[in-house]
Symmetry: C2
Subunit: 361 residues, 2 copies
Amino acid sequence: VSMKTVSRVLNAEPNVVPALRERVMASVAALGYRPNLHARSLARARSSILGLLYYASSAAFVMGLQRGATARCRALGYHLVVEQLDDGGDHVAEQLRHMLTALRPDGLILAPPVCDNTEVIGLLAQAGVPCVLISPGGDSPALGRVSMDDARAAQEMTASLIALGHRRIGYIHGHPAQAAAPRRLAGYRQALAEHGLPADPALVAQGDFTFRTGLDGCDQLLDLADPPTAVFAANDDMAMGAVVAAQRRGWQVPGDLSVAGFDDSPLASLVWPQLSTVRQPVAEMAEAAVDMLVSRSARPPAGGAATGGEAAGASHATAASLTSAASGGPGVPPMAPPTTHRVLDHALVVRASTAGPRAAG
Amino acid sequence: VSMKTVSRVLNAEPNVVPALRERVMASVAALGYRPNLHARSLARARSSILGLLYYASSAAFVMGLQRGATARCRALGYHLVVEQLDDGGDHVAEQLRHMLTALRPDGLILAPPVCDNTEVIGLLAQAGVPCVLISPGGDSPALGRVSMDDARAAQEMTASLIALGHRRIGYIHGHPAQAAAPRRLAGYRQALAEHGLPADPALVAQGDFTFRTGLDGCDQLLDLADPPTAVFAANDDMAMGAVVAAQRRGWQVPGDLSVAGFDDSPLASLVWPQLSTVRQPVAEMAEAAVDMLVSRSARPPAGGAATGGEAAGASHATAASLTSAASGGPGVPPMAPPTTHRVLDHALVVRASTAGPRAAG
DNA sequence: CTGAAAGCGCTTACAG
DNA sequence: CTGAAAGCGCTTACAG
């Protein structure tokens, strides 16, 4: 019945005899005791709070990130604070500074396109907060990054369209300021080149990731003297617009026109026909980001086991350090090792909006 | 150059001579000093943290709430922690208890349909956390509520369709488990009754708020021997499905069929044709919720000014208490007074998907 | 392996 | 109107 020992048990520190540990655990369970996060934050240097920064755009994407982040935070005893930034706002700096100094988050997750805002990045780097960028454009030196291979995914989707027999494949480009747009366009072009298909500039319509520009872009492509038999849009919102454009003029999808999207947004499997698309592992990206942040902010483990530099079992490895290194924490799912850049797997999701081209008349 | 005085200045407490106050303010500005939230939380009873509880469903709605909540929190020096609950999950109780005991939020905002989960409500009430429910179904005694008048809004939209000349108006019903659905249906029926129109059960299709059921529901209505000339869907997702259903069979919207939605979701003004709908003040509801929570958790002001029971200027009203009551805080927008139930205004948004019926053949 | 001391950065009563 | 004291609930070094 001590008080310091309770702290040790709760933090899974070594040097507590099993029997005592048991007794404490039992009491904790019985009383439903939980440490007060704020007292703990004050005594430690860290707060067990992570922040998610985003703009109003791309609601579905942000919600996907939140799902992954809150789930992983919960498993690790962390909490997620969200902050919606005003895109053009000039007091963004003020907002951020306030959040950082008042709340002292252990790390920040930056959703696109916030992650490409150099002012924000600069401010955060200067403040010294660990950050992980989700699918950023440029490669930022000291910051963590999680992304998927947009170019490769677009290349694969285009190739699958080619494999179905399509030869004229239209493309609806995304907003050029969003980092993913040029990468996806490059993948489309690469697939064409790999299969010896001409890169007709007329087959690429400019969009900005909204439903409306998908509709307009598809109209533009279908108005061509030699229209495409398939249209690949850089995201699902535009793909849905493309479907409507086709249906509006009486074309069947996929009978008269195949349409493919990108993202696998929640709506993609609810519209008619269900959209063939690329599954982007949004929630998983947020989970990976949380892992990276938590492993950074965790105090360096005793002994040299996790630093990886020294050979295992070297002179300074005590029994205690080995124990703690082997246990890997109290029943919590194992954390991914800290990395500066993780690329997660995507997948092609073939549903009902794509098929082979109808025999030409 | 004291230290206690700084605390007084930062908290806008009375009893500091203007000159001193100025001097402290200047230093604070110069050093960029901000109080550590965790230290403050520990010393006070409250954390300046609010929580938002939601399910995975209705991404756009939750994002709207977050927008309003984060903005208002920022203005009031609060922070928003989000928690996505597993709908069917049986460790929801565990999740909540952990959040409450560890983080000690000053209050919780419950998005629909979490706000109608009796288990959650019971747990929270028992824990004694102030809660505000967004558009809940039943009327929960001690909890705050913010909503809009769904029935009246639906009645107005239906009436506007009638005013355009429609006599057979189809309705696509929402998910009956969501509290808003029966209220909107009631409004539709009321408008019909008020204008002496028959309530044909065949004109009401069952949906569940998803795009897909809007499409199917509209198909069902248009297959009727005597199909409607207008369809009112209980939300925008279903209305978009209805538009596609019409277009798929070559009907023009609004030429051959008027379609109205509900919510004014971000997509509503991006689809083609742009949707006539009801604007639901989602962000404003979250702002109101934050105000209610903050005014609750604020410590009762000195003097009796804000309690409203005693006459102003009564015996105990000192100069100090009058000052603090009149100032209303340091440059922060005025807070709405604490209320147990606030109903916010909606608005009809007439866009391009509704028009008068084409002269019948 | 275990505990008594001091401190994290603020605030609440209490004296002047 | 202003400050010196004690404490919020935990944890970090330090002694046993």
